[in-house]
Amino acid sequence: MKILVVEDEEKTARFLQKGLREAGYVTDVARDGDEAIHLAGEIAFDLLVLDVMLPKADGWQVVSTLRRDAIETPILLLTAKDAVSDRVKGFDLGADDYLVKPFAFSELLARVRSLLKRAPVRQQEVLRVADLEMDLARHKAMRGGQRIDLTAKEFVLLALLARRAGEVLSRTMIAEAVWDMNFDSDTNVVDVNVRRLRGKVDDPYAHKLIKTVRGVGYVLDAEE
């Protein structure tokens, strides 16, 4: 998978390239809009991560030029302005997703993954992580063969973590996916709920599955 990061701010470009490379993607960097248009026309990238504020040609121009030239590479826009009109403009021009700066890198990674596998993933009936087993159809969670008694929301939360095992999920993402609360304040409510879930899923067992990633969020991981 090849990703082109278009970003003129040096530090941002560096951490994006480093982070994406370590996540397993081949990553190139373009410093301005013209270079981005040129590179995207030469090389078949799987994804563009595009800053809007760029020298020479700005992000909007890059998107419209590429789409006009029938280059259909998915584009993830990075904007500094959290204005609805900007979002709408981006989608109108042909961008596929957007993130507002400052963003969490884990969030960026999640968006990149979902853009790269746009084709719908087959919905699994049963999820397995280490000795945790979840039967989504029958709403049953088992650990080491023992049934775990969960409330409806706890089940949804555990299923979310299990489906994206190994991926760090931010509190905001969790609140949005489980409770449909899309605002990023008061995320300690998520902590309380995760703590309760742990009480049922992890506390009775030696092998802890749900891990806290400080300053980022939570991950369900089979590793010790």
Binding site: D82, A83, V84, V100, A175, F183, G215
Partner: protein, 462 residues
């Protein structure tokens, strides 16, 4: 275009002058006309008087020639001003008696056309006379004699001439004086306006507390000054708010940035274990996340204050929304030992941006939970109200001091700074108000210290 740039003083002067001159012209004109009429009337009366005297003499004492002579020849000759002449003619138009020099100045034929009426006659020297010719019966004889009388208008004309000279002189002086006086009056009249303008010019960001002294101004200008002062009050208040906001913002940024910087410097001062580096990075990440949240909240607030911001309205069932929010906070409430209850009237809905409304109510619930001790109760309710719909978040927690309530919606304002140190930025209620503004709704806080707080969101009902 040019006309509109004439100064106010100039325009006032122009109008004042025009009005004064017009009035003066009308007044002097009327007076002149009255004077002419009066003079003419007095001459006519004099004439009639003389005719009456001579007629009576002829009728009653026709043979008193001495009396007639005195009346006709002597009396008129003795006059210096308002000279008059009388001639007596018999039935054959032969002159019987006449005032001396009359035949030279006003021969009998100058009276033709005047029998029985009063008119003007011109003497041989060109002077004007008011004259008449009357036919009068003579006592004792069956015949009529003619009396010709003329009174000089020279004196009258001299009076009118002098009057006209005065009028022209007055008009000339007025044309010069009126503009000067008018300009002075106009200048004096608009001086307060100039003062207001000068004060306004002087007021800058550092002298916003200065005000225009409205004492002793005429009503209209006092009004202007008061309006102006009210505007300055509002400006000063917003400016103060802005200054306070900048100071607060700097303060909020100082702590996390200082932590990041300090921890990094200390960490880099010497070699450390991987664990220690990891600890520093984690700690810094937490600070950075906090900063991001602050920026996010501020951007959100800026957006709510931009009148051009669009919101994605949809029909939202209020009861359902409240239950969803309560479900989200359920675990946190339980942990705090607080009962969380929802009491919503059925079938209430609003046309609102669901996620924004959720955020507003969420902020209120979070505040309520944070200020209610274990064993307390937080209640979410929705009811139809006169004005539309009310969503209410009520707690029986510690309450808010009355003096803090007006400042609750200010950015970064915290009722109890020390207590909330670990929590948010003091932006929660500002955000709630911003969201309600976007929806054209209202937010009110009712609180009693020690008893609890009730926050009411007012919205238009669907």
């Amino acid at each position: 275009m040019r006309k509109s740039r004439w100064s106010l003083a100039f325009r006032l002067t122009l109008w004042y002058t025009a009005a004064s001159l017009l009035l003066l012209l009308a007044a002097t004109g009327t007076l002149y006309w009255a004077l002419v009429a009066n003079l003419e009337r007095s001459s006519s009366l004099f004439l009639a008087d003389k005719v009456h005297v001579v007629t009576t003499l002829l009728l009653e004492r026709p043979n008193d020639w001495d009396g007639l002579r005195e009346e006709i020849e002597l009396e008129s000759a003795a006059r210096r001003y308002d000279q008059f002449y009388i001639r007596l003619l018999d039935e054959n138009s032969k002159t019987l008696l006449e005032t001396s020099r009359m035949s030279a100045l006003l021969p009998a034929e100058r009276f033709t056309g005047l029998p029985g009426r009063v008119g003007r006659a011109e003497s041989t020297s060109g002077a004007l006379y008011l004259a008449t010719e009357v036919s009068a019966p003579v006592g004792g004889r069956k015949t009529n004699w003619k009396i010709q009388i003329a009174v000089s208008l020279a004196e009258q004309q001299e009076v009118l001439r002098r009057y006209r000279r005065w009028v022209w002189a007055i008009l000339l002086v007025s044309t010069i004086v009126c503009p000067l006086v008018g300009y002075q009056i106009a200048r004096r009249g608009i001086r307060p306006v100039q003062y207001v303008a000068e004060t306004a010019k002087r007021i800058g960001s550092s002298t916003l507390s200065e005000r225009i002294q409205a004492d002793g101004y005429p009503v209209e200008l006092a009004d202007l000054a008061l309006t102006f002062n009210a505007m300055l009050d509002r400006l000063e208040e917003s400016f103060e708010r802005l200054t306070r906001f900048s100071a607060d913002l700097a303060h909020e940024l100082r702590t996390p940035v200082n932590n990041i910087r300090g921890e990094m410097e200390v960490a880099l001062a010497r070699d450390r274990t991987v664990e220690e580096y990891r600890e520093v990075l984690h700690s810094n990440l937490e600070e950075a996340v906090r900063l991001s949240e602050l920026i996010g909240s501020l951007l959100f607030l800026a957006r709510t204050e931009n009148p051009g911001t669009h919101i994605k309205r949809e029909i939202t069932a209020v009861g359902e929304l409240l239950h969803a929010i309560a479900e989200y906070y359920e675990a946190a409430a339980e942990q705090a030992g607080v009962t969380l209850a929802v009491m919503a009237e059925a079938d209430l809905s609003v046309n609102a941006d669901r996620s924004l409304l959720q955020r507003a109510i969420g902020n209120l619930v979070s505040n309520a939970l944070g200020h209610t001790a274990s064993g307390g109760r937080v209640e979410l309710s929705a009811s139809a109200a006169q004005s539309g719909l009310e969503i209410c978040v009520r707690d029986n927690g510690c309450g808010i001091p009355a003096e803090s309530i007006p400042r609750l919606f200010d950015r970064f304002y915290r009722v109890d700074a020390a207590r909330s140190q670990s929590g948010g930025f003091g932006l929660g209620l500002s955000i709630v108000r911003g969201i309600m503004l976007l929806h054209g709704g209202s937010v009110q806080v009712f609180s009693e210290e020690g008893k609890g707080t009730r926050v009411v969101l007012g919205m238009t009902r669907m």
